[in-house]
Subunit: 381 residues, 2 copies
């Protein structure tokens, strides 16, 4: 190694080591959340990190095509992609190897995704994800189930007061379609809605005429779900938009019945979010400044109706309470291995001396094995 080499600690931007104790915390949280998924019938699948870009970027995968690292496969001489999203892989598995399994099909996954570029707000280029997909059923109960299970998974790791934000990404397009708004005016309205620029929305919607003229009222209706649903109920909506509103009301009703304490907001004309959503879209926010913990919603999985949620594990880890670490017990040279095993069965971490130079302090142990028990160092040394 010469001094010309870069600092070996320097990783590419957006790529990081997870160190103790965070790496163990993340793994423990993933397994706790997956146990919630598996317990409700979401069977685990594990697609590979790399696949041919034809299949990786098909369907909903097209949304992340420009974020996908590409590699030449020296074996087939075809291009492969490093996955930037797992949902398209689950869709591929459902449509091919699990095509003959009766629907609805419930699948879960966890794994790493990679992205070419981080953003200023989210610089990470390797992102651990876990999630569920419910494939082959289109009803309010299905959307409610995935939102509730994602919420239960967060509760399992100690995040008990998230907020569920529901958006209806097809609502604004349905109103603009019904009003026959196209071209430049439609683009301007979309941009104004995206910026939540009420004045511009009002002006442009007036130009667009009914039923787009209802957009300003729906824009200001965003907030607690009950108020937003009431505004949708009162609005004069064309049939396609009315169906979207009724579906949202039905989903909220199922969620309310099962989780009355969950804080739910609804933004009827928001249409940010993953581009492939065809019904409700969900975002789960953590308490305080924790930000987005999970996203999901209704989409097309190949030719099938589907709904799902993805949990962002970095954000979940930062939002979750930190459990106490297991106390470390120093095992002196020559101690009985069975005594150490007994302490591990009680939840202690045992750290064995290997040479006379190993001391409890060096091995960062607060306890020491005495007889068959762990004695705190303060009292015994």
């Amino acid at each position: 190694m010469t001094e010309d080499l870069p600092n070996p600690a320097l990783l590419p931007s957006g790529l990081a080591d997870l160190l103790p104790p965070e790496a163990a915390r993340e793994a423990d949280m993933v397994e706790a959340m997956l146990a919630v998924f598996v317990g409700q019938g979401y069977e685990r699948v594990k697609p590979p990190l790399l696949e041919f870009e034809d299949s990786l970027l098909a369907g909903s995968g097209a949304a992340v095509a420009d974020q996908t690292f590409r590699l030449m496969d020296p074996d087939s001489h075809r291009m492969m992609g490093l996955r930037a999203d797992i949902t398209p892989q689950v869709a591929r598995i459902a449509a091919t190897r699990l095509a003959d399994v009766p629907r609805p099909l419930r699948l879960s996954y966890s794994g790493q995704v990679l992205r070419i570029h981080g953003s200023q707000l989210a610089p990470e280029r390797q992102v651990p994800q876990a999630g569920i997909e419910l494939i082959g059923v289109d009803c309010a109960e299905a959307d409610a189930e995935v939102a509730l299970i994602a919420t239960a998974a967060l509760a399992e790791v100690g995040i008990t007061a998230p907020s569920l934000d529901i958006t209806l990404p097809t609502m604004a397009p349905a109103l603009l379609d019904a009003a026959g708004v196209h071209g430049d005016l439609r683009r301007k309205l979309a941009r104004a809605l995206d910026r939540k620029d009420a004045a511009a929305v009002r002006e442009l919607a007036t130009m667009a005429g009914p039923p787009a003229i209802g957009l300003p009222a729906l824009l200001t209706a965003a907030g607690p779900a009950d108020r937003a649903l009431a505004a949708l109920q009162e609005a004069d909506l064309p049939p396609a938009a009315r169906a979207i509103a009724d579906n949202a009301a039905a989903i909220v009703a199922v969620i309310r019945a099962r989780a009355p304490e969950l804080h739910i907001t609804l933004d009827p004309v928001e249409f940010r979010g993953l581009q492939y959503h065809v019904g409700v879209a969900f975002t789960l926010y953590g308490p305080g400044t924790a930000g987005e913990l999970a996203r999901g919603g209704r989409y097309r999985s190949g030719d099938e109706a589907a709904t799902g949620m993805t949990l962002y594990l970095d954000a979940v880890r930062r939002a979750a309470p930190v459990p106490p670490e297991a106390p470390r017990v120093f095992i002196p040279l020559g101690a009985d291995p069975a005594a150490a095993a007994g302490l591990r069965a009680q939840g202690f971490v045992t750290v064995a001396a290997l040479t006379p130079a190993d001391t409890p302090q060096r091995l960062r142990c607060g306890h020491i094995l005495r007889g068959n028990s762990a004695a705190p160092i303060e009292e015994s040394v």
Copy 2:
């Protein structure tokens, strides 16, 4: 999708989907084995899948340089590699971010590695691994600890009768050094040893003279550890080779004391294996035809003495007994969610009907919720 496109089920060679129930089994096994590591003080780290090739291929990483996928980082315009081994990453972490933690440093990890080419015997190009590294200590107790913990991890997933194969990759070079054998004769002898061609070894060792003349005897000594150690004890070894033999005997003695039932073999002049081993090398074989389940041994971690073991999770999964799957219970429409939660707490998987079309048969349930219990379908429907 046109018919010209390849079958979307077709993945690149050596890359595969893990489906239910195998994906869950693998994840459960990984966490069970990592719990063994963590319980004995091996703190978990999680390095990224991608890093700059300078750091990824430094030190022991050089051994997998020709198996490492490379990618240009569009951010830094430097070359990155997709890791083909995790040990060099752990060495980097130990030498940099954990440089100030007192030694010995015990670290564990699990994750995917990727390789450009599979082999005929091992076609997989994405390989899940888990392992431990014990850094900053060089003694028989340390080598014995990693072998014993890897064995305990296998036992935790039900593989209770592995065989530990110990090789001494520095023994043959030490004998050849002491005999002053270089050049063509040394290459021929190395090849003959690698092929276990006793006749060629005998002929070439005679040409090489003492102490290389002891090689044929050591070649035939390979087998159960006690017999091999006895042969080493009787052999006339130069000092460097004697130290290697004594170290092997000390390691076997520690392992024997802790795991008297473990089957141990020793091959004194085998020097296959990961190129970077500087002391003993370990291979754990499964019972029957299960093959190699883990490899490891003593190496240099940056400037530090180190020893470690890597478990090959595909092989471990194939060798481990299959636990019974949790029974699936059908939850009828409108059933009490608390009753379903109660069944999950008892270890059942609950699968909720979402529409009247959902039946226990369609949802592959052998049980149905009746009151607060799970009734087998045969008896109740």
